[in-house]
């Protein structure tokens, strides 16, 4: 039992990451509103934050800012943080494009329900 709890703890951020990925996809698949769908995509993306954050973390280590702490103090991985920053920008920009498309969908097709947006088929 203790072993299982330890294993769960060891994997916790990663389990949450996998869960968010799948649950976000579920939201996308079952969505009836484009804006809802786009927000679900944000949840999928946040899965990657958790993965990267969990990967780069070190127990008991400080943030990688060497102002108040001397060089050599154990610090968490700065590279994953840089990757996450990139990821966040990507998130915001893709959102902007998708929302612009959603506005145009309402404008041109008169609906934001994926059921009604099926002109491209066959």
């Amino acid at each position: 039992m203790n072993h299982l709890a330890g294993e769960l703890f060891r994997m916790l951020p990663f389990i949450v990451a996998a869960w968010l990925f799948v649950v976000g996809l579920y939201g996308i698949v079952t969505s009836r509103h484009l804006v809802h769908l786009i927000m679900c995509l944000v949840v999928v993306q946040s899965s990657t934050y958790l993965l990267l954050l969990g990967v780069g973390y070190k127990f008991g280590a400080a943030a990688p800012i060497f102002v108040d702490i001397p060089v050599g103090t154990p610090a968490v991985d700065p590279v994953t943080h840089a990757l996450m920053l990139t990821d966040i920008v990507v998130e915001a920009t893709v959102m902007a494009l998708l929302l612009a498309l959603a506005i145009q969908a309402e404008e041109r097709a008169g609906s934001v329900d994926p059921e009604q947006l099926r002109i491209m088929r066959g």
Binding site: F9, L12, P13, V16, W19, L20, V23, G24, Y26, G27, R32, H33, V35, H36, I38, M39, C40, V42, V43, S46, Y49, L50, L53, Y57, A61, A62, A63, P64, I65, A75, V76, H81, M84, L85, I88, V89, E91, A92, M95, A96, L99, A102, I103, E106, E107, G110, V112
Partner: protein, 82 residues
């Protein structure tokens, strides 16, 4: 520290799930902004202040704002059709 980490991770999982299962976009956007705040907290707890800094402005302000503006536009259009 560890208790806080576990708590915030579970909190992220719950709020994320709630965002997906909120079907009304107007309610959902509030959930999303809250989710952004929870993520910010998580980044702070996991020693990522730089990321937390970005996340709070992007996740809790910029994205919800864009979504709100989109929803406003959609609503105007919908009313115009009726």
């Amino acid at each position: 520290m560890i208790v806080m980490q576990v708590a915030v991770l579970l909190f992220v999982a719950i709020t994320g799930t709630a965002v997906v299962f909120t079907r009304n976009p107007l309610h959902q956007v509030i959930g999303l902004a809250f989710y952004g705040l929870v993520m910010t907290l998580m980044f702070f707890i996991f020693q990522a202040p730089d990321v937390a800094f970005s996340q709070i402005v992007i996740g809790a302000v910029v994205i919800p704002l864009m979504v709100l503006l989109t929803l406003a536009k959609l609503k105007v259009k919908e009313q115009g059709r009726k």
